[in-house]
């Protein structure tokens, strides 16, 4: 999941003539890199992981006109085999998006086999009872469809999109992948080898791996500390049997939410879904609860050495909030002011006034259990300590001074004004209704958003800052040229750790077997 989306959206960019997407590594749901500012950016923001955050924290209505935005009508029902279906008809563009949320994610990876959920998701299309991997690709591409399968910390997901006229074929492909994957050994080997090189390649770009080091250093051996895409050691330990077992245990109708949104006739779609998914054999499922997480109660610093870096990439923060935290809307409002938009306190200080960086943002990644909060930025080697000092000053100022009425007014208006494009497409809506269902949230996330945003006062903001924004105890992770920046950053924590980016794994270092 990308911590960087915020930065990208805020930054003005040079659009170079290449598509960065070209370097993305298909099987590994590593943080995605942004391509450009247009639709692609908007769409990608709503990927798994980010989805939760943005939705938690951004739910709104249509501001000044006084006309409140509502969640479009949708229905929910459960098939006999336990599969939950969510249907949302949205007419105007002849596309259908199907989003299957499997309620088990990377947090369920066995220790030492990190990446298992991700690899399992990636292999769904790589050979089924009816199709070879190559035939699946040919059939999907022939209808101009898209198919993305990945695993975040809390859940796995498959998102497929096709034209309305191809509904029959599209649903056939999806059910083939979900119900009948065969995990051919040669495809398992291929994908694991690609995922392994995917991790190596990601380490050539600090931006792509900062999140994995940060999560690891913040959470240690807690499942949220595991790299969802695996690492150079864990990916070599994963065997086909483990993939099969993960699939059989978790890809069970009662463990899946199937959201379908787009242009279709409801009655016809219900019948099609019954025909296609009704035959999925019911099995019992037991999901382990995510162990509780708690903020770190000391300071510590991890310096990851990348000897050729001319710029330091840093993250600092602590454990944040759960997706259903009752303070989530107030936190969104405060974080908008602090580090969630271009005129945020952080960006004003680190970019606009000092020129230390092209972008800085702060971010609550809200999950089933409290997920990470972090401030993220990058700056040239010489200004590493000054930039971090400044970020810390801005954080201290937030605690000392809170936020003003005027800042609140601006942030509320911003949040409400920017929300509607988040529920513009069927793709976005399918993910939203599935994730609300998963996290136990209601349509009030959207229907009551305006009222909830407007209800935030400076006093509530103050309480939320004290409770949820870390002050003294901070975890620091830096990727940069250790020989140049090391001495200057020692002051941030007594407890310090160091790794070379070329060493396998993230944090903690993988155990040798």
């Amino acid at each position: 999941m990308s911590y960087w989306t915020g930065v990208r959206r805020m930054g003005r960019s040079t659009k170079t003539s290449r598509r960065r997407g070209g370097y993305e590594l298909k099987p590994t749901p590593k943080p995605k890199r942004q391509i450009r500012q247009s639709q692609a950016a908007q769409e990608r923001i709503l990927r798994v992981g980010m989805t939760m955050l943005l939705l938690t924290l951004a739910i709104f209505s249509s501001s000044a006109a006084g006309q409140t935005l509502h969640m479009p009508p949708h229905e929910k029902y459960v098939l006999k085999n336990g599969l939950t279906v969510l249907l949302l008809e949205k007419h105007g563009v002849p596309l259908i998006n199907v989003y299957a949320l499997v309620k088990t994610g990377a947090a369920a990876d066995p220790a030492g086999e990190e990446g298992l959920a991700s690899v399992t998701a990636g292999l769904l299309r790589k050979g089924t009872k009816a199709r070879s991997a190559q035939q699946f690709a040919a059939d999907l591409d022939y209808i101009g469809g898209t198919f993305e399968a990945e695993a975040g910390a809390d859940f796995s997901s498959v998102s497929e999109e096709f034209l309305t006229k191809d509904a029959e074929r599209g649903l056939g492909l999806l059910s083939d992948a979900l119900l009948h994957p065969t995990f051919p050994q040669d495809e398992v080997d291929k994908l694991l080898a690609q995922a392994l090189d995917g991790v190596r390649g990601a380490k050539d770009d600090p931006q792509q791996v900062l999140g994995a080091y940060y999560d690891g250093y913040l959470y240690g051996t807690h499942p949220y500390g595991r790299p969802a895409g695996g690492d150079e050691v864990s990916l070599q330990r994963i065997k086909r049997d483990a993939v099969m077992k993960f699939y059989e245990t978790n890809y069970v109708p009662a463990n899946v939410l199937l959201a379908v949104a787009g242009e279709f006739n409801g009655a016809e779609m219900r019948k099609k879904l019954e025909d296609v998914f009704g035959a999925w054999a019911a099995r019992s499922v037991k999901n382990e609860a995510i162990p509780p997480t708690a903020p770190v109660k000391s300071k510590r610093l991890l310096l990851v050495d990348k000897p050729d870096a001319t710029q330091t990439y840093f993250a600092l923060g602590n454990v944040g909030i759960a997706r259903n935290d009752p303070d989530r809307v107030a936190i969104r409002v405060v974080n908008t002011i602090f580090g969630g938009r271009f005129t945020s306190e952080l960006n004003e200080a680190l970019r606009v006034e000092s020129g230390y960086t092209y972008g800085v943002s702060s971010f609550f990644d809200a999950r089933k259990a409290p997920g990470p909060f972090g401030i993220f930025s990058f700056t040239k080697n010489e200004t590493t300590a000054p930039a971090i000092d400044l970020a810390l000053q801005v954080l201290q100022k937030l605690h000392k001074q809170g936020v003003t009425e005027e800042q609140l007014k601006s942030a509320k208006s911003y949040i409400k004004g920017q929300f509607p494009p988040n529920i513009e497409t069927s793709r976005q809506l399918a993910q939203i209704i599935a994730s609300y269902e998963f996290y136990g949230l209601s349509d009030d996330e959207i229907n009551q958003l305006e009222a909830r945003v407007d209800a935030v006062t400076p006093e509530i903001a103050k309480r939320v800052i004290d409770k949820h924004f870390p002050a003294e105890n901070l975890v620091f992770v830096l990727i940069g040229k250790a020989s140049e920046i090391g001495p200057a950053v020692e002051k941030y924590a007594e407890k310090r750790d160091a790794r070379a980016i070329s060493e396998p794994g993230f944090w903690p270092p993988p155990e040798k077997k």
Partner: protein, 450 residues
């Protein structure tokens, strides 16, 4: 001006779709776009859509890094940043503060050809956005302190996207090698030494040159009516005086007569290889056949290159191609990400063989049909948001010379034949027309030394 329907564009789009899916008359597909050319020469295009209470506003200025020269590379992009740093009515920092306080957000991007400004806002902010845009187009201020700090920001952007990013670094080397005469040879962000040395005079000159209203196109999509937009334009934009646009770029890149190669040695876990082929500018008739060829070769896991390099030979993690809108003859870029330890020339060889296959025999009917289906589905994906529509309408208007070409696209793709695909493969994808940019990991290099 076309305002013949009160249907929302979404509904109109549906009608279009029915036409598209039902019959070969793709060319009929249209949704209403109202247009008006202001007295100062700026063309305004409006696409009404009431599905969400928001607006996307794009302004395309026909100035980019192709209008720069040695010593001033990156100036267009730097200027793009300065357009947010204060004018007469909205001083330094005011633009962003006022816009965000009213529910709006903005961004901008610069390419080799254009500089594009984007505003996304609730319709309640409409007059304000026009006030802001008019202010900065005519009254930009050049505060030396802002220039100093913004220079640092751009340097940080360059370190992020180029210096510490292998793909960015190779891309820069590729263009610098593929072009020896034409200004596409330097990077949009600029060489670091130029970033450090631009002067106030150069900045002012650039503003005068590029930011004349008759050098710009405005596109508005969303919860608006053409009447209200045109009225706002008459009030805020039309009074802005016209001046001389940038001088034409006269340099023509001479034909490439043999392969060019550039090598980068750098500490890195994986190698990387980019290959460029010169192709005509965007408004060339070959545009559609080239896209069909690229789709067949590169798009999706069933594409020929993916099947060959990633699936069968298993020498690459990914292979893709791209081409961006361009006023002048440009390049198709191909990127292969070799696996660790794989000699990137192995990837090159496999790709060249696939290009040869596309020259030696026509593609199959199924492949051709697949490519057209993919292009059609992508069209809908682009057009389903107000933001996507504003960007696409503007891109067609600016680079194809007429937004209506957008509605011909499906027809133009439909008309591409297997022979066309074979012809463009033969015409453009030869060894003499290619430039190769390779990253060789330092560690691998050391092993090879005696």
């Amino acid at each position: 001006m076309n305002m013949t329907t009160r249907l929302t564009s979404r509904v109109a789009l549906l009608l279009v779709v029915l036409v598209l899916l039902g019959a070969p008359v793709w060319g009929q597909a249209e949704f209403p776009v109202a247009t008006k050319t202001l007295k100062n020469g700026m063309k305004v295009l409006v696409q009404t859509d009431h599905s969400i209470p928001n607006v996307a506003l794009y302004i395309f200025y026909r100035i980019g890094s192709r209008n720069e020269g040695p010593g001033t590379t990156g100036l267009s992009h730097f200027f793009e940043h300065m357009m947010f740093n204060g004018a007469k009515k909205y001083g330094p920092g005011d633009l962003d503060k006022v816009m965000e306080a009213n529910g709006g957000a903005n961004n901008a991007y610069t390419t080799k050809d254009v500089t594009v400004y984007q505003d996304w806002f609730p319709r309640s902010a409409l007059p304000l956005i026009y006030d802001i845009e008019a202010d900065r187009i005519q009254n930009l201020s050049f505060d030396p302190a802002k220039i100093k700090s913004e220079r640092e920001v751009v340097a940080s952007e360059r370190r992020l996207r180029t210096d510490n990013d292998n793909g960015g670094l190779l891309d820069e080397q590729l263009w610098a090698t593929a072009y020896i005469a034409h200004p596409y040879q330097w990077p949009v962000v600029g060489w670091m030494s130029d970033i450090e040395h631009w002067t106030m005079e150069q900045l002012k000159h650039h503003f005068e040159m590029g930011y004349s209203p008759n050098n710009a196109t405005m596109v508005v999509a969303g919860d608006v009516s053409p009447e209200e937009i045109f009225a706002l334009c008459e009030k805020y934009i039309e009074p802005i005086p016209t001046h001389a646009p940038p001088s034409p770029v006269v340099t023509v890149e001479p034909e490439q007569l043999g392969e060019r190669r550039v090598v980068v040695h750098k500490p890195s876990q994986l190698p990387l290889v980019l290959v460029a082929y010169h192709v005509p500018q965007t408004n060339s008739p070959d545009y559609y056949a080239l896209n069909v060829l690229r789709t067949i070769l590169f798009q999706g896991e069933s594409s020929r290159m993916y099947q060959r390099l990633v699936d069968k030979d298993q020498i690459a993690l990914d292979v893709s191609s791209s081409v961006e809108p361009a006023f002048d003859p440009t390049i198709v870029e191909v990127v292969a990400q070799p696996k660790q330890g794989v000699d990137s020339q192995k990837c090159e060889k496999a790709m060249y063989e696939e290009f040869e296959n596309a020259k030696n025999a026509t593609v199959s009917d199924t492949e051709l049909e697949k490519a057209k289906n993919i292009r059609l589905a992508e069209f809908y994906r682009e057009m389903r948001t107000i933001n996507g529509r504003a960007n696409t309408i503007g891109t067609y208007e600016v680079f194809f010379g007429d937004y209506k070409k957008l509605f011909d696209a499906a027809n133009n793709y439909s008309a591409v034949t297997k022979a066309d695909v074979q012809r463009v493969a033969k015409t453009y994808f030869g060894a003499n027309n290619r430039t190769v940019s390779t990253l060789i990991p330092d560690n691998a290099e050391e092993k090879g030394k005696p």
